[in-house]
């Protein structure tokens, strides 16, 4: 049998695996994507939507770096909404319903036409490694063994297994192994990871039932339209061409709550059948009625899975109660009295690798060349997965090329916040992004994702000429506009000063100052000028905070730092740092349980090491 070989091998065709494969292949690595089923690439296991608070910003960042998710969503999106539009632009976030079939088709088209990328349909049974020569790691990846017996040699492997690692689905007392309805689990990969010295944990998530569109009485539902002028995710998209659809709103009622309460003894979450931790922000309907018994109704969003799809996703009633209870529950909902369930809700438990075992490059600390991305790191959500996929793909390609890894800092993007949270603090439940996690939220905006990350993407090599040209054009136009706004005066004030007023959009100046018109038409540019004007003082303040943050962040720490050698350090600080092995003094300061004096002592110690001519442990 011929031995296949490649530079980077990505396991899993979900949102993390797809981005990883795309990034690695585009950086010139000979890449293989292994997936159970080519037709399931980018399949949306949960709701057919992309974006939202924090998540929408991540998609913009993926796009700014040269990733896929924004482009695919723009092409497959059938309802776009800019959330929080009535609040400040720092917290605006795009969200879109996607046609899930189209999403898969578009993503697949990108990947199948991607040079350097081969897709192989198989499962992976084993990740192979050999003892490492590098003293910091134990072993080094050499390739994988497929479930059809084939071996593939690879210099770097990205595991993006989603919920497939020993996935176990629950609907009532029924349990079945699988990564998703109708798809097999990755049964043997967990043992292989354990064999490489990694520790595994278990998490849980869930999904609601889907109903047939033609069985829904829409006359009883409230319509929820999208924005009339859909704003695209990608900086490369000028207009959304897909015809737009609407969603619908309904809710649960006390009769449903009564029904669920009467059947709690059959709910796997309450019988002890499921022990793993699920996400607090995505509670099942049975959890909601138990935790908030005083609430008489819970919203249900009816989201079409596609423009022509006959399936409707019931967002808000994720559940794993038995089928007969699901059926009764659905029929008690206004508008769903005669609804036909086409897929049962279920909960799924799956293995993950507690993320203290990777560093911010997403490479495991134990195994060189082994990268983890997505739910395997304890996250949830397509966007979170995709964001990690890009970083893992970039670093896998750079690992192969023997180039230094790239990390995204907390002040550069939500992707940076997420990865730093994961590797520094670990997870206790599936991790989801919220804007409240970002201390530099005023800076990590939807509108400036390109300015934050496209130069980095260009430097890495993922941003192609066309994107770069557009980025430069936008930048120049923005500077021109700012100059005009500073120069043109009305009633004794510059337009820039006028724009600082709340609710002032600047539209009223268009007639008097025709030189503004071309900028007004370029909505992006005008929007950025508004943000710059309205947030002026705050942006400066945030920049100062970022500068302070950077001082510690740029203070690199060697993973081999000997914390036992620091005299007088508190025992707890010593143990926490030994467990995490932070890569910068800033990261060391964020480790839980660390106090300011611990960090001060670390700095003093490092400076003494420097002066005594020890190994260079600190640089700035």
């Amino acid at each position: 049998m011929t031995q296949i070989s490649c530079d980077v091998l990505a396991i899993g065709g979900g949102h993390a695996g797809a981005e990883a494969a795309w990034a690695a292949a585009n950086l010139g690595a000979r890449t293989i994507l292994v997936t159970h089923d080519r037709a399931a690439i980018g399949r949306m296991s949960c709701n057919p939507a992309v974006g939202g608070l924090g998540k929408g910003q991540i998609v913009r960042e993926i796009d700014a770096l040269g990733g896929l998710m924004g482009l695919v969503t723009d092409e497959a999106g059938i309802q776009f909404r800019m959330l929080n539009r009535r609040k400040g632009p720092a917290v605006w976030a795009p969200r879109a319903q996607a046609d899930s079939r189209l999403y898969v088709a578009v993503l697949r088209r990108y990947l199948e036409n991607c040079p350097n990328l081969t897709i192989i349909e198989a499962g992976v049974d084993e990740i192979r490694a050999e003892p490492a020569t590098d003293p910091a790691a134990e072993s080094r990846v050499t390739g994988v063994l497929l479930n059809d017996g084939r071996r593939i040699a690879a210099t770097a492997v990205v595991v993006a297994s989603g919920t497939f690692l020993r996935g176990l689905m629950h609907t009532g007392a029924e349990q079945s192994a699988g990564g998703r309805i109708g798809e097999p689990a990755a049964a043997r990969l967990s043992d292989s990871l354990r064999g490489l010295g990694l520790t595994l944990g278990r998490l849980k998530t869930g999904t609601p039932p889907r109903v047939a569109r033609d069985s829904v009485d829409f006359s009883r539902l409230r319509e929820q339209p999208g924005d009339p002028d859909p704003a695209p995710f990608s900086f490369m998209t000028t207009t959304i061409t897909q015809p737009q659809v609407c969603c619908w709103l309904t809710s649960t009622n006390p009769r449903i709550h009564e029904l669920l309460r009467a059947n709690l003894h059959r709910a796997p979450l309450y019988t002890g059948q499921i022990e793993s931790v699920g996400p607090r922000y995505c509670p099942s309907i049975e959890t909601k009625i138990v935790r908030f018994p005083e609430k008489e109704r819970h919203q249900i969003f009816l989201e079409p899975e596609g423009r022509d799809s006959d399936r409707i996703y019931l967002n808000g009633v994720s559940t794993s109660v038995p089928r007969d209870v699901q059926e009764q529950m659905v029929h008690l909902v206004d508008g769903l009295e005669r609804a036909r369930i086409v897929q049962w809700g279920y909960a799924i438990e799956y293995d993950f690798v507690p993320p203290e075992q990777i560093d911010a490059t997403l490479m495991t600390k134990r195994v060189r060349g082994l990268f983890l991305a997505g739910q395997i790191n304890g996250t949830s959500g397509y966007e979170e997965a995709a964001g990690q996929g890009v970083v893992a793909g970039i670093n896998a390609a750079r690992f192969v090329a023997e180039r230094p890894p790239v990390t995204i800092r907390r002040d550069q993007g939500y992707i940076g916040v997420m990865i730093d949270d994961l590797v520094t603090r670990g997870v206790t439940e599936p991790y989801r992004m919220f804007t409240s996690r970002a201390e530099h939220r005023m800076h990590l905006r939807y509108d400036n994702a390109d300015r934050r990350l496209t130069p980095l993407g260009r430097e890495i090599g993922l941003v192609r000429d066309e994107r770069w040209r557009r980025f430069e054009q936008q930048r120049i136009r923005f500077e021109e506009l700012m100059a005009v706004l500073g120069r043109v005066r009305s009633e004794g004030r510059s337009l820039l000063e006028w724009l600082r007023q709340p609710d002032e959009t600047g539209e009223r100046f268009l007639d008097r100052f025709p030189e503004l018109r071309p900028f007004w038409q370029a909505r992006d540019v005008w929007g950025r000028a508004l943000v710059a004007a309205k947030y002026e003082g705050y942006i400066e303040r945030q920049q100062r905070a970022i500068a302070r943050f950077r001082e510690l962040e740029d203070c690199a720490l060697s993973p081999e730092t000997d914390y036992d050698a620091i005299p007088q350090l508190r025992h707890e600080a010593r143990e926490r740092w030994k467990a995490i092995r932070p890569r910068s003094v800033g990261q060391a300061a964020r480790v839980s349980g660390i106090q300011p004096t611990d960090v001060s002592m670390l700095i003093v110690y490092l400076s003494a090491q420097d002066r005594l001519g020890g190994p260079p442990v600190i640089s700035s």
């Binding site: 917290v91 996400p279 922000y281 969003f301 804007t435 005299p567 003094v585 700095i603």
Partner: protein, 464 residues
């Protein structure tokens, strides 16, 4: 998190343990001289080349000035190697604290415990081989400060600060929820009117605490706690040392329920002496569940454990006529040597010169008879000596010096919440100010997001 970056200017009240006749406020950093200028002090000629001093009146506000001797140490001829100013004035802690808070308002930063020394080290004024000494000082000063802060638990200001942090965090959770969970249009988090109302209340509370003059002075004195097995003679010795009858002296184990405190003036220092009967290992007699629900016992034990943890020195009493018990050895062994003074009490009952006393590392215990008065002079001398060796905490409360800045941030948050009634127009800016205020008041380094999320998920039913 504040760590010894060396670019900014730090300030601290830097006198020792307690209100001495003279108090010192010290500044180090590039803006030290400029900050003095802001206090209306003109430096003497030549202050930029050589250390010198001048008498001056420091202007605290339009109406208040304070007489001080100002010592100017230009870089690099100073302790830290930076421009350093020392302000020597009256040793009144509230006054010194006000002065340091004023300097913080003008742009200085409150120094962390040991930060002046850390700076001196980082800037090469101390030899690299002295790193052990520097680290040990930083650790000791941090611990002493923590102990003093923990003791200040009943201080009115501290209480108000904790209350404010709690209310700000709750408010922040609601404001953040309104940003991150916009799709839940059936859940209402907080109205602008509620934000304004809450913030007005928090600001008023903080201001009241600031002006009430509540003072944590006693918590800044070195604390010495009497500990030992029941019946070791703690209360008798306590009474003898403070020469009063405040403690109930009894031979029934565990009769002194509360922690009794008294200030005691030694030759060179004032200390707080504390007596708590339960300050020792749990005894067999107390532990045999037959006694029923021993709740007061548990309370007393917890209070005592706290007192021991927060003490700068633990005076361990061992009755001379008894043998060392294993639980006593274990408990005593857990107290660091630097914080432990051993006494053989009740020597009037006859000394038990058993072999174990000689072999144990405790053989140097000071023999005392509270009844007859033997050894009391030596004990006072020993205490004075040991207290003199202790590293003092940072005077005042590190966490309270940033209050004026916190109150200013809260005012900005309130003003931002005002303009619209329909919903917060700029929740992201309100949140920014609330976070800034919270960080200044709490003075901690734990990222706040997990706490905010925990509150959101426990209070509101959200998530699809």
């Amino acid at each position: 998190m504040q760590v010894p970056a060396v670019q900014d200017t730090i300030v601290a009240v830097s006198s020792g343990w307690q209100a001495a006749p003279l108090g010192i406020v010290r500044l180090s950093g590039p803006d030290s001289f400029a900050l003095l200028h802001a206090l209306g002090v003109t430096p003497p000629a030549g202050h930029v080349v050589a250390p010198c001093w001048s008498a001056a009146r420091l202007r605290l506000d339009a109406a208040t000035t304070l007489a001080a001797n100002v010592f100017w140490f230009p870089a690099p001829r100073s302790y830290t190697g930076q421009d350093v100013v020392e302000l020597h004035t009256i040793g009144c802690l509230p006054l010194l604290r006000a002065l340091s808070e004023h300097l913080i308002e003008l742009g200085a930063r409150q120094a962390q415990p040991g930060e002046f020394t850390a700076r001196a080290f980082l800037l090469g004024k101390l030899d690299a081989t002295q790193v052990d000494r520097v680290l040990s000082l930083m650790q000791a000063r941090d611990q002493a400060t923590r102990r003093a802060q923990a003791r200040g638990g009943r201080d009115g200001r501290r209480h108000a600060g904790e209350r404010a942090v709690e209310r700000i965090t709750a408010l922040l959770a609601a404001v953040e929820a309104g940003i991150d969970f916009v799709e839940e249009d059936d859940v209402r988090f907080v109205s602008p009117a509620e934000v304004v109302r809450t913030l007005d209340a928090v600001i008023a509370d903080l201001n009241a605490a600031c002006s009430s003059g509540a003072d944590a002075l006693p918590s800044a004195y070195p604390h010495v706690v009497l500990a030992g097995l029941p019946n070791a003679g703690k209360s008798t010795l306590f009474n003898r040392l403070i020469a009063s009858e405040r403690a109930l002296v009894s031979s029934v184990p565990g009769t002194t329920r509360d922690v009794l405190s008294a200030t005691l003036t030694l030759d060179s220092a004032t200390i707080v002496l504390q007596d708590c009967a339960a300050a020792g290992p749990a005894g067999d007699a107390e532990g045999t569940g037959a006694a029923g629900p021993a709740e007061p016992e548990a309370v007393a034990r917890a209070a005592a454990a706290n007192a021991v943890r927060q003490a700068d020195l633990v005076l361990w009493l061992h009755a001379a006529d008894t043998a060392w018990e294993p639980r006593e050895l274990e408990f005593c062994g857990q107290i660091p040597r630097a914080r432990r003074v051993l006494v053989r009490s009740k020597i009037d009952l006859g000394e038990r010169t058993a072999l174990d006393d000689v072999l144990l590392p405790f053989s140097d215990a000071l023999p005392v008879s509270a009844l007859r008065g033997d050894g009391l002079v030596q004990l006072r001398d020993l205490l004075a000596r040991r207290v003199g060796k202790l590293i003092p905490p940072v005077p005042g409360d590190v966490s309270q010096s940033d209050w004026p800045a916190a109150i200013a941030a809260l005012r900005r948050a309130r003003d931002l919440a005002r303009p619209r009634a329909a919903g917060l127009a700029s929740p992201e800016l309100v949140a920014l100010e609330l976070r800034a205020a919270r960080e200044l008041l709490a003075g901690d380094t734990t990222p706040v997001d997990e706490e905010i999320l925990a509150r959101i998920f426990s209070e509101f039913c959200i998530g699809k």
